[in-house]
Amino acid sequence: MKKLTIAELRATYPYVDDFFDVNGLVVENDSQTVAEYIYNLPYLFLENMGLEHESLIKHFRAFMSSMQGLDKSQVFAVDSLTIIGGTDKSGQREQTEVTIERGEIICIVGPTGSGKSRLLADIEWMAQNDTPTGRRILINNVVPPESWRFSLNHQLVAQLSQNMNFVMDVSVKDFVRLHAYSRMVRKPEKKIDDVISCANELAGETFDPSTPLTSLSGGQSRALMVADTALLSASPIVLIDEIENAGINRIKAMRLLVDQNKIVLIATHDPLLALSGNKRIVVKNGGINQVIKTSKVEKMHLEKIIGLDKVLTEYRERIRNGETLQHIL
């Protein structure tokens, strides 16, 4: 790599331009090597930028190797996630050990303050007896390497919560492109279209790819976050914290995530979501109190809830569009 000219590097490693950009460097002659280029930078220029020849070269090498690492990193296969119980808020031991398999949806239920978000945070952190609960998390039955917590390449967990908002000053399309780029997706255009059209299917109200990201409604934002997580994120585990009020098609959203073979955990108060999982974890006073399997009878109730939900959605749409419910029986 040392002998390649900048032009040659660009052809093989398109991200090399990010190095120049992030350091405020302008390349006028790309027939020289990066080392030649850097050593030819005027001292005064570097001084102004607070840079030095040697450290810039060192940064360039590290830059290339970390970008190559990202490029090569594969999706890590997670077949199971195990929660080994710790203690509740009163210091009582939780009895449980819960294992969740790939493609499963598990719901977490319990009143506000009972510890749902804490449980999700333990999973996100891959807790090893180093959080207030003392829980431990295993991946594929073993303790995940500590280094994964810092690694960009091993993003095991993607999170979605009611506190999250989009803050970037870009259009929806540019945002998805940036994310695709950070995932080193080869043919981003197709992916971008997929994510946006999928988000539009989940959102109650559709939006245009040119919409500024920060002007999406709450529902549209959640829809885009779900679609992006399902289709673009490499993380095999998805944690969702109370997004029920967001006004998105929840059934479709869950199916989308599970279809990507992800492990999905949802903290929720919503019966529709709670019953759409295979199991639900009940938390009380900070501890896992019991694990309930969704029964056949409950699945029948779920059908009823879905029916009710449809009616409610229809009413909402009509009223929103200025219609009356006068002629509906």
């Binding site: 992030v22 960009l152 970037m168």
Partner: protein, 228 residues
């Protein structure tokens, strides 16, 4: 004595993450002190006191904050050693983006937050690019995707640093920062130590208190924009 510099733009969460990390270290019963450098005013000393942590405040006032920092930090280290501190943390805000308090062979931490926009890692100069450890805060309130994009931009701006995600509210991730603080470089004195990069330089009439605008008053190290 262990010594490290913690820097970062204003409001990025420096004090919060330091406090969370020190909470993790509490059981070790280390004697920890914080040197807080700021320009006009700070309440951080009260925050530290509320958590039972000793701190000293240095306000640069009308002086260049970086120059003020570098002309005091060696005395601060002597003071820390004299008073038997195990760990001394220097906390300072980077104000002009060109500045950086980082010192060669002293652990250097930079704190930035997810809300600053994706161009920030590029805009912040040596403070970020020359740090050993970069702490990213406020990840809990932005989307996962933005967090990933931001982390990549940080990685590109400083491919050598360790990147930590710390939640300044809940303390998630503070354990790693605590380990870094506990194992920060040991120093005996900063006399003769070198800054990682030169400080922004200036010696013009305005440094000396000139307030009137106009060519006649611009003396010394003056640089002009090229407008045409």
């Amino acid at each position: 004595m262990r010594f490290l510099t913690v820097s970062g733009p204003p409001s990025s969460g420096k004090t919060s993450v330091i406090l969370k990390a020190l909470e993790v270290l509490k059981p070790k019963a280390l004697k920890v002190g914080v040197m807080k450098f700021d320009c006009l005013a700070t309440n951080d000393d009260r925050l530290y006191a509320a958590h039972g942590i000793d701190s000293k405040v240095g306000l640069s006032g009308s002086l260049c904050p970086d120059h003020y920092f570098v002309s005091n930090i060696d005395d601060c280290v002597d003071w820390g050693i004299r008073h038997g501190y195990d760990v001394l943390i220097s906390e300072s805000a980077g104000l002009c983006n060109r500045c950086s308090p980082h010192i060669k062979n002293c652990t250097a931490v930079c704190v930035i937050d997810n809300l600053m926009g994706i161009d920030t890692p590029k805009k912040i100069g040596p403070m970020l690019k020359m740090a050993d450890v970069i702490v990213i805060t406020k990840g809990d309130i932005v989307s996962q995707a933005e967090r990933e994009i931001f982390a990549l931009k940080v990685r590109q701006a400083n491919p050598l640093a360790t990147i930590l995600h710390v939640n300044g509210m809940t303390g998630q991730g503070a354990g790693q920062l605590a380990a870094i603080i506990e194992h920060a470089t040991a120093v005996e004195s900063l006399r003769g130590a070198m800054l990682r990069v030169s400080m922004p330089s200036a010696l013009c009439s305005y440094c000396l208190g000139e307030t009137q605008i106009g060519k006649e008053k611009q003396k010394g190290n003056v640089r002009k924009m090229i407008l045409d």
